[in-house]
Subunit: 83 residues, 2 copies
Amino acid sequence: MHALRCEAELKSERVARVVYESVLPDVKLMPARRSRVDIDRRGNNIQIEIRAEDVSALRASASGVFRLLALSERVITTVLGDV
Amino acid sequence: MHALRCEAELKSERVARVVYESVLPDVKLMPARRSRVDIDRRGNNIQIEIRAEDVSALRASASGVFRLLALSERVITTVLGDV
């Protein structure tokens, strides 16, 4: 399993934009030795593409990206209330 | 983040078929209280759709499914050598 393409559906375009802009710096800082992460936003969906040399690196990157997305969405939803 | 659609690209259709058939029973057994996981296969790609009530449930299900996929792919690649 060397490539994973995911689309995360967020509650609104506003939340998606803030989540995307919040996680982008961290995604760019993710180590790129064994995997590469690309992230994009379209409307209220965030697209993630991960390519890796092996399945462990793929899982580690996927887990890291989802942790960033989940945390930032939780912060935003808490700050902005039900958006 | 209440829905996640992923497509995992496996090395070959054969590996994808064996991985899919290996993980399907476990995916069906995954608790469905706060999230629902659907999995399908097309060629050498495995499609995963996860819907959840909250982002923590979504992350837990995603992590669980990727662990199953990663483990089964590793077993198959080890057994069948470089397929």
